[in-house]
Each structure stands twice: as C-alpha cells, then as structure tokens.
C-alpha cells in the first residue's frame, strides 16, 4: 500500500462547507420563476409567498435528499423548505423564519419526517411560532416499515411517503382547505402509505469525504433509510423480482390494503440508480401488485427522496381513495414535479 497526498474529492464541489449554499443558489438561479432562496435565513420560499388566505406548507430536513424538499417548493406543493446541513436537521430559527414567510393568515402546516432531530427542532419552532401568533399544525411522516414501531423507541422513519404527502397536502391547501383540513389530509396520506428501501452502495457526505459504510461486492443493505445509514440487515444481492417481492411483502403486510384497492406505487431511486433500473423495478412492482389483487392506478418513478449518490431504491405504496386521487392529479408546478399546468 502506498499513501498518497490528499487529493480532491471526486465530487463537483468547491469547498465542502459551501456545498449547501451554492447548491441552493443554483436552485434559485434555475427556478427563479417558482421560488427564491433567502441565504440569511437559509430557507427556500415560494416566489409568491405568502399567498393570502392559503394555508402555508413548510417542510425541512437535512440536505442530501434532493430534490426533497427545496425542489418541491412551488404552486400546489410546499410554500417553503428549510434545508439543514447534509443529513442534519435544520435549526428552529430557519423553521420559524419559513413559517413567518409563508403565513398568509390561514396558519401553517409543518411536515416533519420522524427523526429525533427534525422532531425536536420543529417542536421548538412551532412553540416559537405560536408565541408570535402564527397557528401551526404539525404532521409527522413515519412510513418506513423496515423499522419496528414501539412505544419505547424513536419509532419509524419518514421516507418516501413524504413526497406523496407534500404533493397531496399541497393540493388541499391550494384548493382552499383550512388548516385542520390540510393537516388531516396529510395525516391520512401518512396512515395509508408504507415504504421499504434497499441499497447496493453507500454514499459519501461532502464534509467527511468518506463512504458511510463499506458494502462488499455482491451484498446489499436491506431496510435502509435516507441518511446513508446501514440497513436492518445485510444480504446477498438477488434478482430484482425477488428483491421487489421482499420489499412489497414488508409494505403490504403492514399496510393491509383493502382487496382490489386503488394504490399509488412510488418507485424511488436513492440517487445513484439509473432510470433503466427504476423502470425495471416498476415493472416488477406493477406486476406483483396486480397479482396481489391491487390496482396501481397512479405511480411515480424517479429519484425524488435520495441519499446523495447512494445506489438503491425504495418502494412506497399509498392506498388511494377518490379524494386523494383527485388531489394527486391536481396541478403542480415545482422544480421537481410538474403537471397540469
């Protein structure tokens, strides 16, 4: 073994400490018609916020999951996003600034993924917002069935369902639902959605410059989250149809959808898996859902809630009803999701 001098990380960055700000500046430069980036408050805000009389939607979390959340700011989805450092929850100051920036007088919904850091920081921000006279409802996302839920643990993680919830609750807010109704729609999405993820590679945060775990050839991490953390267990890589079988079994046995139910099937890439593989996975998902007597009437395929450049995928199944379907179909115009406009 030879030791070499420190070399540049193989990532498109300038300084590791500038990654977040420079990336958000780029987002704003590319999508200035939809959003703006407030670098002092470290928040991404919908261009026309606050929308008078509309419930505001704020989400946030560590960076590294792009396009989540900043890429979902715009018409019919989020009013603001608070990005923390890579894989680190943002701080209450950001959330409070975002809440105030989007409050159009109808109150603000905080969409919080169930991670201790996000939960604690959003809790503090909601208390601060209440002190300043802004009504806040928090909606927790905890759809990951890889984690056992229990009274004595931190509970399940919020993963893929976050994207679906932001879209659907965003449509509810856009059509004029009040604060309680938007929050209730959000909670309904969370209750009816379950997810499961696998990874075939690790990922490298810019700050550390090192992969978060070693994954030998031929092995995969099963039951991963979205922070480059190892999964519940390690297994040998198997053919895609078998992997999807394992994932869907975990999702459906927990969700227990009604026979013949319409579902939204979301095949999400973790950042390093190409679309050719994601569509291959969707083919399996679609086939297996139909074989299980379900009806995948809506779908989403692509990398929407990622873990930097991790190769891997998650599957989310959302049991639909007519209202959720209509809200999913409603127009949306954000950097990462756009239809109907």
């Amino acid at each position: 073994m030879t030791t070499s001098a420190p070399s540049l990380m193989k990532k498109f960055i300038n300084e590791p400490s500038d990654v977040l700000k420079e990336s958000l500046s780029g987002l704003a430069a590319a999508h200035g018609d939809l959003l703006r980036y407030d670098a002092d408050a470290q928040i991404v805000v919908r261009r026309d916020a606050p929308v008078k009389g509309k419930v505001g939607l704020v989400s946030g979390g560590g960076a590294g999951h792009e396009p989540l959340h900043g890429g979902f700011v715009g018409h019919g989805m989020l009013d603001a996003a608070c990005p923390g450092e890579v894989f680190t929850s943002p701080v209450p100051d950001q959330m409070l600034a975002a809440t105030k920036a989007v409050d159009g007088g109808a109150g603000v919904v905080h969409i919080v993924k169930n991670y201790t850091g996000d939960v604690l920081n959003f809790k503090m921000a909601a208390e601060d917002a209440a002190d300043e006279g802004v009504e806040v409802e928090s909606v927790l996302v905890d759809d990951d069935v890889a984690v056992q839920d229990s009274l004595y643990t931190a509970g399940r993680r919020g993963v893929g369902a976050t994207v679906l919830l932001e879209k659907i609750a965003g449509a509810a807010a856009e059509r004029g639902d009040d604060l309680a109704a938007v929050a209730a729609i959000g909670r309904r999405v969370n209750e009816r959605a379950r997810s499961f993820g696998v990874a075939v590679s690790s990922c490298t945060p810019p700050a550390s410059g090192k992969p978060m775990f070693d994954l030998p050839d031929g092995e995969m991490e099963v039951g991963i989250g979205i922070h480059g953390e190892p999964g519940r267990r390690r297994e040998a890589v198997r053919p895609a149809h078998q992997i999807v079988e394992t994932m869907l079994e975990a999702v459906l046995s927990d969700l227990k959808p009604a026979a013949g139910a319409s579902v939204l099937a979301f095949v999400n890439g973790m950042g390093g898996t190409p679309l050719i593989e994601l569509y291959l996975l969707y083919n399996e998902v679609d086939t297996q859902l139909r074989a299980a007597g379900l009806n995948p009437t809506r779908n989403l395929v692509g990398s929407y809630i990622t873990s930097l450049e991790m190769a891997g995928a998650s599957i989310t199944v959302l049991e639909l009803d007519d209202e959720l379907t209509a809200l999913w179909d409603a127009p949306v115009h954000t950097p990462a999701l756009r239809w109907g406009v």
Partner: protein, 217 residues
Amino acid sequence: MITGSTVRAQTIISWLKEIETEIAEQSAYLTQLDAAIGDGDHGTNMNRGFTAVGRVLAEQDEPAPPGRLLILAGKTLISTVGGASGPLWGTALRRAGRSLGDAETFDAQQLAEALDAAISGVVELGSAEPGDKTMIDALTPAAAKLHQGLDAGEPLEQALAAAVRAAKAGAESTVPMEARKGRASYLGERSIGHLDPGAASSVIILSALQRVVARDQ
C-alpha cells in the same frame, strides 16, 4: 456539605472554551462513533455549535452572571447545531442556566442542582431513559456521583473527578446496549457493540468542567 468552592462567571467562560477546544480535537472521533450507528455528523455538528458559542461569548462586551452565560450558550447551540444534539444540549445548558438564575457566583451544591436541571431538560425533550443508549446513560450516573461526593463533604474538584469517572463508565455501558432512541435505534440489534456518540460527547463536556474547576479552585 460545605465545600467552600465558589464558581464564578469566569469558570463558565473557561469551561465553554475548554469544551470548544476539546470538541474540535475529538471531532473526528465523535464522527467516527456516529458513522457506525448514526449518520456520521456528531463531531461536525458539535464543533459547529461550540465554535459559535465561542464567537458569541467573545462578542459579549458586558459581564454577565454565570446563569445568563449558560442560557446564551444554550440558545446558540439550538440556533447552530441542528440534529438532535442541538436542541438537547441547548436545552441542557439553558435549564442549567435558569437554575443558577442571576447570581454572580454559585457553590458546589448549586452546580449539582444545575446538572440535575440540565438532565431533566434532556429527559423531558428526548424522553430517553437510562438504558436507551443515549447521553443520559453518561449524565445520570455522573450527577448521582456528584451529589454523593458533595453530600459526603468532598471538595468540588474531587466530587467532579468521581462524577467524570462515573460518566465514562456510563458511556462504556452503552456499548452492549441496543439503542431505543435516536437514529441508532433504526439499526436494532446492529447498534449493539458500539459506544453511543452522545454519551461520548457528554464525557468530553463533563471532563472539561472538571479540568476547569481543578484549575480555578
């Protein structure tokens, strides 16, 4: 019970500086612990927070009582750290500060009570219990040992040294535990065999206090 030890604002300033230095030195170690069972940023985040605390304290032109300094430090951590550590350590320092009030100085007993207040704040916010593989597993035995020593009439310095030893033992005791709180809990049984990063930084923070008190007494 009378120890004769008096703690002043300067001790708190020195303590926070000592933490800043020590966290910066141990940052890679904390991050490495966190990479094993968390998301590998504990050192980076704590370093960012205590660096900010150092900056804020340096900008203070008016002398402030110890309690106020701790509240300021706590608020700074909440505003800069993020993750779970920001709210938890921020709340800990704020509660400790509030328990000391506006007094110019405080004694050993009040210091022990401030530590109790800090721990209560962490437990309320994070609802962790001993055995969950968290910072509580280091802090709780340390507080117990501190009270025990002071009640037995030991000088503060000696009681704090025993408290730090208890914190270290408590942190070590997290190795065989299965995490029930925080991000490590997602790993289930795979969290076993690793030292909890929050317990490790708790040891750093208490050790810094013990060193500063030993120097100032």
